[in-house]
């Protein structure tokens, strides 16, 4: 399959895995391996001296590139500080900007997100913002220098799938940077749909990490993303209101 390219870097997998929600590092490790992912998000939090093992060890062992996020931030200022700390801790200038509006919906705050994105682009970061399914905002973020946009399919952790496929298609048309469908994925068909709509990649976490069998679901997601991409490249047939015979109707 054709590579995913973000900010000049190539990935042979178009599935980006989050690490949140896994019951243990062992389960996470198996799921990451099954998913085939080459890019994985982590959060930045206070160091816990009693923590056993590190998610970073798992990623290093698998040679997976780390994508720190600013999860838990409510303002642009918090997100900028978190990004700079992530750069210092992890030695990467890649950052998934996530600035949420409230804890009940975890929906992204578009104004704080844009503010943070502008400041981080100016500070030399490769910025991948998590946004609502808003084509106008996606275009503005591309113009501000973001390297990808990450519209949600549905609220974080909801498993509701892609609530507004039409908006996702409009975002794909509106920008030339990669569109990464982020959040809301519940099962494999959601991931395939995202790719069929023209997304360059799919980002998901809990759909795998909280599945009854995470490793099996990770494999399902891997194959769904591949199938969806191939279907997009192949070009679907037009929808018709009535039947069209595939063989001659006359004897």
């Amino acid at each position: 399959m054709d590579d995913l390219i973000i900010a000049g870097e190539s990935f042979s997998s178009r599935l980006i895995m989050g690490t949140g929600g896994a019951p243990s590092l062992e389960v996470l490790d198996q799921a990451l391996a099954a998913s085939g992912t080459e890019l994985t998000t982590v959060a930045i939090r206070r160091l816990d001296p009693s923590a056993r093992g590190s998610v970073l060890d798992v990623l290093r062992k698998r040679d997976i590139k780390v994508l720190p996020n600013t999860a838990g931030c409510f303002t642009a200022g918090e997100a900028v500080l978190t990004a700079r700390l992530a750069r210092e801790a992890l030695g990467t200038n890649w950052i998934k900007v996530e600035v949420i509006a409230d804890e009940r919906t975890l929906l992204p705050d578009p104004i704080e997100t844009f503010d943070a994105a502008e400041r981080l682009v100016a500070d030399g970061f490769v910025v991948l913002p998590y946004i609502g399914d808003d084509p106008a905002l996606a275009r503005r973020l591309e113009q501000a220098g973001c390297s990808a946009v990450m519209p949600l399919g549905g609220p974080i952790g909801s498993g509701l799938g892609i609530r507004n496929p039409h908006s996702i298609e409009l975002i794909v048309e509106a920008v030339s940077v990669p569109v990464v469908l982020d959040a809301g994925i519940g099962t494999a068909s959601d991931a395939a749909l995202a790719m069929e709509l023209g997304c360059a990649a799919v980002m998901l976490a809990t759909a795998v990490t909280r599945a009854q069998q995470p490793e099996l679901m990770a494999l399902a997601m891997k194959q769904a993303v591949e199938a969806g991409r191939l279907a997009r490249l192949a070009g679907r047939i037009p929808r018709r209101r009535y039947a069209e015979a595939s063989s001659p109707m006359t004897p």
Partner: protein, 63 residues
């Protein structure tokens, strides 16, 4: 304050010493003092004062 907990700050205590109260790791760790990043190369030379808020952070599962 280090990660929200009160600590006695001895005269001339550095950021590097503050980090060592929590971990021996140096990679994968970042420090902010009063919401400003302190780069690793400055840990040994940055002294703390009484009311400084020190945050020692690392990557965890998330997102």
């Amino acid at each position: 304050m280090i990660n929200g907990a009160s600590h006695e700050v001895a005269d001339g205590m550095t950021v590097a010493q503050a980090v060592r109260t929590l971990t021996t790791a140096t990679t994968g760790v970042a420090v902010a003092v009063n919401d400003e990043v302190v780069t690793r190369s400055s840990w040994e030379t940055t002294a703390l004062s009484d009311r400084d808020r020190v945050e020692v952070l690392t990557a965890v599962q998330g997102g």
